[in-house]
């Protein structure tokens, strides 16, 4: 019966959970034990490795939002600051659109002065924080520009597509009340760039290698996924070289997404005028998932393998069905949470059982088996308070065990 449900596949994770989810399922698929913490912090160890208690460190792969440990703290910090990133790319002699960063409070005049030189249309996005999100493109006049800036005055917590990485800089500028309205303070900054037209290409760079290129005709933002097309094999090497150089300009990124707008992805960069419009320390595999779930899954596995290779850690074969002992800590309202977990897992075809071990300290245990993606989705959602009822855990541990025949996932008293 497990074969029947397995073909159905789980629902998709939220786009901002996609990277962590893909690397997580890749780890389960290859038989690694996994420990997860909130905000997609994940460690994976080989099943024969020693436990974490006792002091001796097992070989351990670790990730935040699918970003491996080998991405340094200063590198991700640089990548999250678009003004810095522009300066680094410029100093490396790489082509970026004309632009500048200004404050939402007093920057309008400066922005208009810049536009006098570069002309409309322009693009506006937040100057600090996650990349590729909240991008307003094709702004053609002052009204549209003002409306884009006005949008950024909305507190980040009220903006539907705003995301914030766990390693982000602390935002010093917290929302404040102005004229009876809660807004981002006037010092909050936006980046203004000339809107470059052409083919919008998303490169995934792993180590020093481009492992995926997706053509996103409407841009990489939500809504256009169905038009996305994998063009990895047909992209001109001069363009993939450009993407690799862009990542090298921000030293210390183990993985990065680079967006380049150019005339024709099959032609030599020399013959056109490509511009690097984004560089993200998060892979944002939701783009590749728009092409196919399989592509996104394979790239998650590639990130896992690449990190394992850096640590000289051998990985096992992939399995489409796995079983894990599940251990959860810091579970809020444990009895209700466990019921919700069982239901969510069951709906995604998982088998096994879960129960509350210690209601006072919020500890629960169980056995879960089924498709690695379904298990990954279940616990990613639990840690991010996305299962029905909004319950959450502060730690989830999955330790591999032999697959056996079990009933659909249920609470065991």
């Amino acid at each position: 019966m497990s074969a029947d449900v397995a073909t159905a596949g789980p629902a998709a994770p939220a786009p901002e959970l996609r990277d962590g989810y893909e690397v997580h399922q890749a780890a389960l698929r290859r038989g690694l034990n996994v420990i997860q913490f909130p905000r997609q912090v994940m460690m994976a160890t080989p099943p024969d490795g020693a436990g974490t208690a006792g002091g001796t460190q097992p070989q351990e792969l670790s990730f935040a939002h699918g970003v491996p440990q080998t991405s340094t703290l200063s590198a991700v910090t640089y990548a999250q600051d678009k003004r810095m990133r522009r300066a680094l790319l410029t100093n490396a002699g790489l082509p970026i659109p004309k632009g500048g960063a200004y404050s939402v409070g007093k920057g309008m005049e400066f922005a208009k002065r810049l536009i006098e030189r570069i002309g409309y249309p322009v693009v506006v996005k937040p100057a600090i924080g996650d990349n590729t999100i909240e991008t307003r493109t094709g702004l053609r006049d002052e009204d549209e520009l003002a409306s884009a800036i006005d949008y950024l005055r909305i507190p980040t917590t009220s903006r539907p597509t705003y995301t914030r990485a766990a390693f982000a800089l602390t935002l010093l500028s917290e929302p404040e009340e102005l004229d009876g309205r809660v807004m981002m303070p006037s010092s909050y900054r936006f980046l203004l760039e000339k809107h470059v037209s052409g083919e919008y290409l998303r490169f995934l760079v792993l180590g020093d290698e481009v492992c995926s290129v997706v053509h996103c005709p409407g841009g990489p933002w939500a809504g256009g996924e169905r038009q996305h097309r994998d063009v990895t094999g047909e992209t001109h090497t001069s363009l993939t070289d450009l993407a690799r150089q862009a990542v090298r300009a921000v030293p210390g990124l183990a993985v990065a997404a680079v967006d380049i707008v150019t005339g024709d992805h099959t032609a030599d960069a020399e013959a056109q005028d490509p511009r690097i419009v984004e560089l993200s320390e998060r892979p944002w595999l939701a783009i590749q998932a728009g092409v196919s779930a399989r592509l996104s899954q394979d790239l998650g596995d590639a990130i896992l393998r690449s990190h394992a290779a850096e640590l000289d850690l051998g990985l096992g074969e992939q399995h489409d069905e796995v079983a894990v002992d599940l251990h959860m800590e810091g579970v809020t309202e444990p009895a209700k949470a466990i019921a919700a977990v069982a239901e969510a897992g069951r709906n995604n075809g998982l088998t096994g059982h879960v129960s509350v071990t210690d209601p006072v300290e919020g500890i629960a245990d169980g056995v879960v088996q089924g498709r690695p993606d379904a298990i990954a989705l279940l616990t990613e959602n639990l840690l991010d308070a996305r299962i029905d009822g909004g319950y959450r855990a502060a730690l989830v541990e999955e330790r591999g065990r032999p697959v056996e025949r079990m009933d659909p996932l249920a609470v065991r008293d």
Partner: protein, 875 residues
Amino acid sequence: MEDPGRALTVTRVQATAFQARAGGKKSNALNHLVKLTATTGDGRQVTGVGEGQLRTAATGDRSEASWEFLEECLRRLHGRGISAADPATAADAVRRQMSEFHTLAEEHRTAGKIDLAVPYRGTLLGLEVALLDLAARALQIPLAELLGTRRTSIPCHPTGAPAQESTKALRGRLREQDTAFPVTHLSGLGTVQENLDLLTTAAETNRSGKTGAGDQPLWINLQGTLDTKDAAAFVKAVARLSKAGTLPREIYIEQPVAIRDRYYLPLLQRTADKAAGILPRSGSDIRIVSDQGAWNVSTAGRRARLVARLGRFGGLRPPRAAHIKPAQAGGLVASVEMSERVHKSSPQARIYLGAFDAATEVTAATLRHLGMAMPHVDAVADATLASEPTIEAPTEPGLGVNVPYSDLVGDALNTFSIPEPTVATHEGKSPNVYPEVTYLQPLGSNGTKGHLLEREALMLGLSTVRYNKGAFVAGDGTREPLSFKWSRSPLSSAVSLALCTHKEATRLRLRRAGVPVPKGNTFAEGDFDGAREFVRRIGYPVVVKPAMGVRGIGVVADIRDDEALEQAFHQLSASTLGNSDFIVEQHVPGRDYRIVVIGDEVIGAILREPGSVTGDGESTVAELMIAKNVARRGNPHLWGRPIKYDDTARFLLDRAGMSLHSVPEKDQKVLLSGSCSLSQGGDSIDVLGEMHPSIKEACVRAVKAVPGLAFCGVDFLIEDHTKPLEEQHSGICELNAHAAIGNCEYPLYGEGRDVARTLINECVSRYDLATTQRQDSLALQMLVRGRVTNVGYRAWLQRHARQFGLTGWVRNVHERMVEIVAEGDAEPVTALAALAVLGPRAAVPTDVTTTHIEPPRIEGFESVSDAPKEITHVR
């Protein structure tokens, strides 16, 4: 023959330099507070206070020279006798004393200690007022009587309404001021149009006032902000608007142009007269007022005669109005004399008495007393006034005010006292003074955080590119450069920060690693039943806090019983943060330690104690706070983090039955802050040498439990750092993956540790960069790119380089690039490299590339158009 019973002996002299506040906001203005204590012949103790306002060119003061001068005057005063048999004798004694100080000031000038004419007027004011206050209190008469009271009341007007306010706020402020005041006083700033708008708004508001004094005169002080062309345009426009009836008939325009353009003032007056003369609306009266700037210019050389001819009112002869400020005029007696002179040369002249912005109530009281003694005055400015348009003669002895300590304890920059001030010590250790603080202060209060790593990198021969205050990359020219942002380095992983910034995740991870952490659990919003159950299991005391809290908001610590627990729950559901999960954890009864781990080693450890002062049996709490804050000014990490006199301090003092004026007993510790945070005035005490190995071992284990964490500040609650962990309660409450570097590098007490040097060495060895021997002196070339020309960048940079004692030059390379060549000790040279990316106000540097060169060995530091020497890069 003087009655010895009526002579005063000065027994204690004290002074504090502080950053004065204007409208409650800290300004850049420097004031002095002078306090003199004396015993009278009959054994009474009296004190006198005075406030000096130092405004560089306008008062002939420079902060360091003036402070040195003040110290010298106070040294002379200490132990001296002042005759105070009667008001006339006392006034004469003060005059003679001040005359001695004026002579001393002039000696300083001729000796080249200060380069301003009629120096130290702002400083002398503080001394004069303190002496007069002292004598008046001894005689138990108001200070005004020593000057010769000439009136029993005087019209007054509120101090200037600033131009920066929004129109709405300005209208509100003007409406609050009853229009019966003799004049509406405004502080102008900005463009011609902005100043015209300010006048128009004020005139409109006055007309709409209840008393209907619509044509009340306006007085705008432009503080020398316009150039001559704009000033002429402004004067003409004012005349036009006055003609049209938009503005009132009588308008005073104070110092429209800078002091250097003071020769232009008579021309502006003629422009105004001409404009007013041809206007049909008769009697428009536009008066240009000088701020007596002619005093402030060097009288040396050929200009001496010209200055003398122009006189003290900017060449406006006869002056039609004067705004006398005692700090500028040279004191109280000088102000009285000045009003006489103005009146003599022009009986029709309007005379107003005022002070510079940014002052305490001491200055306000001084003006009230002086006003009563002025032979000729139309109105006095009053900052403290509510709505009364007239001030009555004060009757209380002296100035009638005490030292306004609450205004200055947190803003103290320097302090001086004979007998010697109390030095805040910790277990016999004096606070550290770090000489490099001079170079680090211009970088701002977070300066060390962004600079120390670059300093170490440059000292190892690496070159750098700095992008802003916090971010730079360092490289050896061959390998991939290392990037840094504040203390975020390439040594640590992004993952490590992601874990450490989640407290609950950190706790669970550390518990698994066998490191002591407080027991705790997270609960869903409103799940108080679950939380009660948990508390029953772990026992009191506990801490309750919001799961997503920031900066300690909503944290209730040391909950010891059910009642306190319920109260905490109540607070949680009432607060805005209550709308989310919350954490209950064991309260660890320990002291607060910050322990720095790099790699596998503990390299720094400080004990953090809440802000406090320790009594010496003589000084007040306020004096002890000032002494402590001045000691903190000598610390690169703490200079911008004083002990504050805030609500917490008031509450804690109140709870101890004390105030700022209380005198704690010797060795009595007075708590002034509720937290150990160094930013809240906490003390940092180095304890690395005494730390028990078991604590260090636990810290290293904790850091190793976090993937890719190579630099970490461990926040550890421990009862006694010299004892083994197993013998006491303890718990790690936080790991900081981007910890400040300065706190262990620059402790207030005890030995500073090489945090930055160790961190850079670790980076260099991990990434195998080629370095040189650590060099104590450096020669560097800095190329600054961005908007750096025609913005005063070179003059700004040269000023700092000279202050830092460096040699070299600065020059424009092209429109968007400046070259700096600087040679000297490593601390100041590297500080200049960090400073270069900030630039003066109008500059927008985008980056600074710093490389090593052969020492050019030239004299001085000049701004040049061509490089005086060819430079040779090393490596």
